[in-house]
Each structure stands twice: as structure tokens, then as C-alpha cells.
């Protein structure tokens, strides 16, 4: 039987049992729909992360950390990740820039609004270069210049957190903001700026800085007397989009020149542990970033930094792992969706086994007229394949609808929280083709047993007793 006749014959048989065919195909639709919608979210996430890597210098950067401390080596034998070391890295072959990565968390106040945010040190030249390359979009105001102090550039996301709902971020430009952080005692903190009378908590006198904060505030939970407040008064210079850094994937930081944040950082605590031990960042930077000319230079720069005695990582090391992670995540999501496809496969088996029983006489007749076992098997496999195709197409439509609705709901929440709109889902051609192919393969696999059963029908028995 030629292929076209075979499909027409199969289609006419499916039409005869329309409701059963629709219900069975609906099972495949739900299975493929669940699978593709879940995978589309996984693929969308992967795409967003990889896009962030590409847009934010991450592919062309080497992350540098101080050497690991060894028990047998004295502290003097280890190189210090300081300004001189970073300058040496800046002139390495293949490197185009190097700067310390300095992040100081604190409380940002503007009017009545207070938010915990981080102050990111970013050289004016790096911010300017990102702007020129289109990786940073200046939405309002301007960027700070080399040597300029007292100004801060705020990301849109951070701005939205500071503003009432519905207010435009550019209304922040030119306004004064206050950044409050803590440092070790005796580091020159400006005590009392938070003002007010002394307050007591469980019989212990609170430092003046804590008077400015609500009692449930995190700072109040730090061991009392171990911190001193530092306050910076800054003017908002500009609002930017897309200036995420190594330590700020979400792009919710405030950006200031490195020399503004450096004095704060030198005496700032980096963890609760550092508060208890009194250790601050006085002995060099904990992190630096070397930017390379291109991806090809990353490996050689990384090796040179290691030769200098520091630890160096690049995204190249993790890229394979990240990709593997996404493959695992997508497979996991597809497997969850695939469970419903398994149920659909059972429905196909059931439908076709019923069809074989109902059509035993027809099978016997076809064989009496000269159909081979393979002909009969192909006929039933065609029916299974058609159910799979119909269900697959329906599943792709359903999956797309579910994914888009999920995207809309999520983005509605994001916008309510002051975040930017993100396309969470992706339907690349391979997902569409893969979804269809998978529906077809599962249906054919499910149709194999009933088809073989049909092929084995004895025509003599079929024509005599059915």
C-alpha cells in the first residue's frame, strides 16, 4: 500500500471513532503541552542568563582572588591583591582593564524611603566603556567622570525600589540620597549622624546609628558595640539600565567611582564572621576583575594572573558546567512534563488495542485480500502516528498558551514589584520540531504493541469468528 493511501486509510479509520480519537489525541496534547511549556521556561531562563553573560563583560573577564592561605606559608610570602597588583594585571598582554570589585552593603535613604542596597565601585572608564558599547543604557541624567566624587548612578531596578509605585525613575536625578553602612570601631566612622536620643535594647545601650532604624532592622541584630556607622551623602547623577556587574547579577546596585567606595570598603565588614573577629578588608581586596580584549585572550590572561600568585577564574571554566546545569534543568522539566505524556502513551495503547479487537474481521479481510503482516502493522502505526501528530500540534499550541500566560502573570508581578519586564519563556525552532518529533516517537512506540498484535491476527480465525 502506498504511503498516501496508507495515511488516508488510517485517517478514515480515525474519523470513524472521532470522539475516541480526539480524547486520545487530547492526552498527547496535554503531555506535549506540559513538556514544552516547562522546557520553554527553562530555555527562556537559559537565554536570559546567557544574554546577561554576553552583555555584561562576563565572557571577556577574569575574576581574581587573593591566594589561598596555607598553614605552612607565612602571611608575608603570599602576594597581596592590592592596587599595585591590579595595575600589573592591567598591563598584561590581552588585558584591556583591571579594577578591584568593591561592594559595600548598606541602607539607602531618600526622603522617607529606606532600602538595603549595595554600593558598587566601578571605575568611570569602565562604566563609560560599557555605555559606548551599548551594554549600559543611560535612561536619564549622566554618568560620573574620572575623579568626580559625591555622585551616584542608579540602576532602574534600584530606582524603582526607592520610588513609590508608578513614579518614573528619572525623577530621582539630581536628588540627594543618604547611604548608611557600618565599619569597625576606630575606623573614622561619623557617629551620631543618625541623630536622636540613646535607646536601650534588652538593657544594652544602642549605638546612635541604630536609633535611626526601626527595631526589627537587621543592623540591630549585630553584636552591639562592635560597629560604627558611616554615612555618605550622594547626588543621583543618572539612571541606567544593564550595568550588572560580577557581584550584581540582578543590577539593583548603586554605582560610584572606585575611590569613593574604597575607603568604606577598607574598614567595612564583609560578613557576620568578620564582625565577630574584627577582621576587615585592610589587607588588600578580596576580588578584582581583569577585562580582556576578547574571549580568545581570556585563557592567557588567566594563566598570567595565576603565575602572579593569585587565584583566577573565568566564565570559560564555568560555562560548560552552566550549560550542563541547564541541560539537566531542561531535562528535569521535560521529564516532569513527560509523565503526562506517559499517560497519553497508555491511552494510545488502550485505544489501538480496542481498535484491533473491534476490527479483527477487517484485519482478517485485508489479509485474505493479500495484506502482509507488515502492511497491517503499518496501517495501525499510521493511526498511532496520526494521533501523535494531531496531539503534538495541539500540545505545541497549548504549551505556547500556558507559557505565555505564565509569562504574563510573572511579568505582572515583576512590574508590581518595580522590576523590569523580562521575557521568561522561549520557543526556539528546535523546541517546536522536537516537541512534534517526540509526540510522534512516543505515539509510534505506544502503537507498536497493538500494531504487532494486529499483524499477528490469523485471517482464518478472524473471518470465521468475528
Amino acid at each position: 500500500m502506498i504511503l498516501r493511501d496508507q495515511f488516508q486509510y488510517a485517517l478514515s479509520n480515525l474519523r470513524k471513532t472521532r470522539l475516541r480519537t480526539i480524547l486520545t489525541a487530547a492526552g498527547v496534547t496535554i503531555g506535549i503541552g506540559a513538556m514544552t511549556s516547562m522546557v520553554s521556561v527553562g530555555v527562556g531562563t537559559q537565554r536570559n542568563v546567557m544574554r546577561a553573560f554576553n552583555e555584561e563583560n562576563i565572557l571577556t573577564s577574569v575574576t581574581v582572588r587573593p591566594p589561598a592561605r596555607r598553614e605552612d606559608a607565612g602571611p608575608d610570602s603570599l602576594p597581596v591583591l592590592d592596587a599595585a597588583a591590579i595595575e600589573r594585571m592591567r598591563v598584561l598582554p590581552g588585558a584591556r582593564d583591571a579594577y578591584p570589585v568593591l561592594t559595600v552593603p548598606g541602607l539607602l535613604s531618600i526622603g522617607e524611603t529606606q532600602q538595603f542596597l549595595s554600593l558598587e565601585g566601578m571605575p568611570a572608564r569602565v562604566l563609560g566603556e560599557q555605555y559606548e558599547r551599548g551594554r549600559v543604557k543611560l535612561l536619564s541624567g549622566r554618568l560620573y567622570e574620572e575623579g568626580e566624587k559625591g555622585g551616584v548612578v542608579i540602576s532602574t531596578r534600584a530606582a524603582r525600589r526607592l520610588l513609590p509605585e508608578g513614579a518614573e525613575p528619572d525623577t530621582l536625578v539630581g536628588r540627594k540620597v543618604s547611604f548608611l553602612t557600618a565599619q569597625a570601631p576606630g575606623s573614622g566612622g561619623r557617629e551620631g549622624e543618625a541623630g536622636g536620643e540613646t535607646r536601650m535594647l534588652e538593657g544594652i545601650e544602642l549605638p546612635p546609628v541604630l536609633n535611626a532604624l526601626p527595631l526589627e532592622n537587621l543592623l540591630q541584630r549585630l553584636p552591639l558595640g562592635l560597629v560604627e556607622p558611616v554615612r555618605l551623602e550622594l547626588t543621583v547623577l543618572g539612571i541606567v539600565d544593564g550595568a550588572g556587574t560580577l557581584t550584581d547579577f540582578l543590577g539593583i546596585s548603586l554605582y560610584v567611582p572606585v575611590d569613593v567606595v574604597e575607603p568604606l570598603f577598607a574598614s567595612a565588614f564583609r560578613s557576620l564572621e568578620s564582625v565577630l573577629t574584627g577582621e576587615t578588608g585592610r589587607e588588600g581586596y578580596p576580588l578584582a576583575q581583569v577585562l580582556t580584549d576578547d574571549v580568545m585572550a581570556v585563557r592567557s590572561v588567566q594563566e598570567s594572573v595565576v603565575e602572579m600568585g593569585f587565584r583566577a577564574d573565568s566564565i570559560l571554566d564555568q560555562l560548560a558546567e552552566i550549560r550542563l546545569g541547564f541541560i539537566f534543568m531542561n531535562t528535569f522539566l521535560a521529564t516532569i512534563g513527560g509523565i503526562s505524556l506517559l499517560v497519553a502513551a497508555m491511552m494510545i495503547i488502550n485505544t489501538l488495542v480496542m481498535a484491533v479487537l473491534e476490527r479483527t474481521r477487517e484485519i482478517g479481510l485485508l489479509k485474505a485480500m493479500g495484506a502482509t503482516d507488515a502492511d497491517v502493522m503499518r496501517l495501525f502505526l499510521s493511526e498511532a502516528g496520526l494521533i501523535g501528530l494531531m496531539g503534538g500540534v495541539g500540545g505545541l499550541i497549548l504549551g505556547w498558551i500556558v507559557a505565555e500566560v505564565t509569562n504574563m502573570i510573572a511579568n505582572y508581578q515583576f512590574l508590581k514589584m518595580g522590576e523590569l519586564r523580562v521575557d521568561l519563556v522561549a520557543f526556539p525552532p528546535w523546541l517546536i520540531m522536537g516537541g512534534l518529533a517526540f509526540a510522534l516517537i512516543v505515539s509510534l512506540a505506544a502503537g507498536f504493541y497493538p500494531s504487532r498484535r494486529a499483524a499477528r491476527v490469523d485471517p482464518v480465525v478472524a473471518l470465521r469468528y468475528f
Binding site: D5, L365, A368, A371, D375, R464
Partner: protein, 230 residues
């Protein structure tokens, strides 16, 4: 001297059911000449249908020799037997075995589908076959809209559509009234005479078969117990 269309020698088909052996065909030897209308008569359970199934390639003999149109059927595997049924034999059944959801034309087209005949040619051949049995006007009718005699005519058209060299008719008048039976038997006789088609007709209606057959064998318990010309 006419050529033999079917030759069988000491043909046996035994079944074992629950330890009991049924000798459905038990050593039949016969010869059907090409262009002959050959009748096989006998009571129910005498082995007529089993013999027809063996000649039609639907069943395989337990022992013996069976040659149809120059092919030794006992040597063919299941695929070769299917191809033999497709190309050589047309079969008519007592219960018609028409597909109820398909029209008369579609039913007649079925064997041509298996022969990979192109759709346009297939329709033409099917219509020709329906015309031969006088049902071209009922081509678009479903079996449920046809009488028993008309359904059997459609079944005959289906068997004829692929232009078989051998027509096997298994109790073709078993489910229809006597007047229609006569018409069906006349139709088979006409096909035999006009087209020179070899027909093997199995029936318990010895009188009806005797009226049209060139040669008759009588079966009993799987054996030939009598034979003779009409």
C-alpha cells in the same frame, strides 16, 4: 488438454485442540482445470472451507502437495502467501465481509489499494467491477443500504476488481434467499463462461452447485467421498 489450475495430492490439514486431533482435511487428492467451474459440496464440518482456505493460501497444509497456478503453496512463507493471495486469488465469503463504514465503491477498491494501484485507475477498475455485477448505480451506497444479494454482488465485484486468475467462493449463497441465490450462482457461472475464470465453489447446496458446476467433489470427514461431472 487443458492446463491444471489447482492440483493437490494427499493434502492434509489437522488441528490439535485440547489433546484431540481434528482431521479437517485428511488426504484429499484432486485436480481443477483452468477455466473450470469446480464445485465442492458436503455437509457442515466436512472440510469444505478448510480445503478452500488451503487453496486460497489462508491456511497451510499439515502434509501433502498443493499446486495452484504453478506455485507450490506448501513451500511459501507467510509473506509469499500474502502476495499470492493479493495477485492470484479472489475470495467470496458466505458473510460477505464488507466494511460497513465504507461505500460499495470503497469496498471494491480495497484489494486494489493493496496492489498499489493509483487512485484514478483504482476508481475506474472498481467501477468496472461493479458494472459487471450490475451495481454501478449503487457505488456510493454503504452495505447497510443494500440487500443481502446486492451485498454479495459487491463482494463478488471486490473479488473481481483485481482480475484474479482463480475465484474462490465459500458458501456464497448461504446468507441469501433462494431466488437471489440463483441469481448469484448464475452470475458466477457467467463470469466463468464469459471470462474463462476458474471458479471453485464450495456449498452445502448440492443441487444449486450441480446446476452450474463443470465438475463436483463431495467431501465427508475431510475426505473425497464422491466426484463427477455435472
Amino acid at each position: 488438454m487443458p492446463e491444471a489450475a489447482v492440483q493437490c495430492s494427499n493434502l492434509k490439514r489437522h488441528f490439535t485442540r485440547a489433546g484431540y486431533t481434528v482431521r479437517a482435511v485428511d488426504g484429499i487428492t484432486l485436480e481443477v482445470q483452468a477455466g473450470e467451474l469446480f464445485g465442492v459440496v458436503g455437509t457442515s464440518g466436512s472440510g469444505k472451507t478448510t480445503l478452500l482456505n488451503l487453496i486460497g493460501g489462508l491456511d497451510t497444509p499439515t502434509a501433502g502437495y498443493l499446486d495452484v497456478m504453478g506455485q507450490s503453496l506448501e513451500l511459501l512463507d507467510s509473506r509469499e502467501l500474502a502476495l499470492y493471495r493479493r495477485s492470484t486469488v479472489g475470495t467470496i465469503f458466505q458473510a460477505f465481509h464488507l466494511l460497513l463504514a465504507r461505500t460499495a465503491l470503497e469496498n471494491v477498491e480495497l484489494p486494489l489499494l493493496l496492489q498499489n494501484v493509483a487512485p484514478k485507475e483504482r476508481k475506474g477498475l472498481a467501477m468496472d467491477a461493479l458494472e459487471q455485477v450490475g451495481l454501478q448505480a449503487r457505488a456510493d451506497h454503504r452495505p447497510s443500504e443494500l440487500s443481502g444479494g446486492e451485498q454479495q454482488r459487491v463482494a463478488i465485484a471486490r473479488a473481481l476488481a483485481k482480475n484474479p486468475r482463480l475465484l474462490l467462493a465459500d458458501e456464497p449463497t448461504g446468507n441469501i434467499d433462494s431466488r437471489t441465490s440463483r441469481e448469484i450462482l448464475d452470475l458466477l457461472q457467467g463470469l466463468n463462461r464469459d471470462r474463462g475464470l476458474t471458479v471453485i465453489l464450495v456449498s452445502h447446496d448440492e443441487e444449486g452447485v450441480g446446476r452450474i458446476a463443470d465438475c463436483i467433489v463431495r467431501l465427508e470427514d475431510g475426505r473425497v467421498v464422491g466426484e463427477g461431472g455435472a
